[in-house]
Amino acid sequence: MAGGSMENAMVGGGYTDEPHVLAVDDNLIDRKLVERLLKNSSCKVTTAENGLRALEYLGLGDEKRTALEDNVSKVNLIITDYCMPGMTGYELLKKIKESSSLKEIPVVIMSSENIPTRINKCLEEGAQMFMLKPLKQSDVVKLRCNLMNCRS
């Protein structure tokens, strides 16, 4: 890729065209939908069905394996559902923001419920954006713009 810009040097850099997104949702249909939406916006997508799996993929599982650092450096965005059994999206957000290796990765929270206290809680904890489900293509376009802006 010619023209190495400042953006490429940042965390998760090297993506000018195809950001790698980790999408976390316990609902199978929603996983399929978010995957398609993101792929249609030229993103590479990895899905996880719960917070634990997501953390494992990111290298924060029980066994800290350095081999997984590869996954970490490749993930440019994490988008997660709020309501999940076990670890909620909020708890996942906190774990990510508490991690020195992961805290720079933007995290977007999705929810089918429009609850202001919930939204504020997530934004205060460092979520980049809060999105209402079901997601539409226009939401993902907005997301990409937002992601690009925070990079410059």
Partner: protein, 153 residues
């Protein structure tokens, strides 16, 4: 050429009917827009997943409501899932019943829950039949050499 136009007309009319009667909402259009040459079966794939997942959830719900001691949290979790997936594919009437169902769960109202289970089974069955008919009509148009005029609303 006439038969293609006729079939397309049938498809458009049938789809409009489903929207008018509230079986489907705009989210279904969103799904259609995600389908293209590189993903020609996306809608059928997602809807099929929805059918499989819903049937599983409905079975779980029936079982949960037959227990001696009702676990409302478990029931609510299942209904929450069903509400989410029906909303994601645009199955509006199913989604609406799920909302009422969750309210009854919160109230720990067993009769309300049982009534809602019956209702949601009915609505699911209806939307399933209608979507299957819709897909069949689409196949007929394609088989006759026509193309699907999406979006139709």
């Amino acid at each position: 050429m006439d038969s293609v136009v006729l079939l397309q007309r049938q498809l458009v009319d049938y789809t409009a009917q489903l929207f008018n009667e509230g079986f489907l909402d705009d989210q279904f259009n969103q799904l259609q827009q995600l389908q293209d040459e590189s993903n020609p079966d996306f809608v059928v794939e997602v809807v099929t997943l929805f059918f499989e997942d819903s049937e599983r959830l409905l079975n779980e719900l029936a079982k949960a409501l037959e227990q001696q001691s009702i676990d409302y949290r478990k029931i609510d979790a299942h209904v929450h899932q069903l509400k989410g997936s029906s909303s994601s594919i645009g199955a509006q009437r199913v989604q609406k019943v799920c909302i009422a169902f969750r309210n009854y769960c919160e109230e720990r109202n067993i009769e309300g829950c049982q009534k809602c289970l019956q209702q949601v089974k009915n609505e699911y069955s209806l939307v399933k039949t209608k979507l299957e008919t819709l897909f069949k009509l689409e196949q007929q148009v394609l088989a006759a050499g026509g193309s699907i005029p999406w979006p139709m609303q």
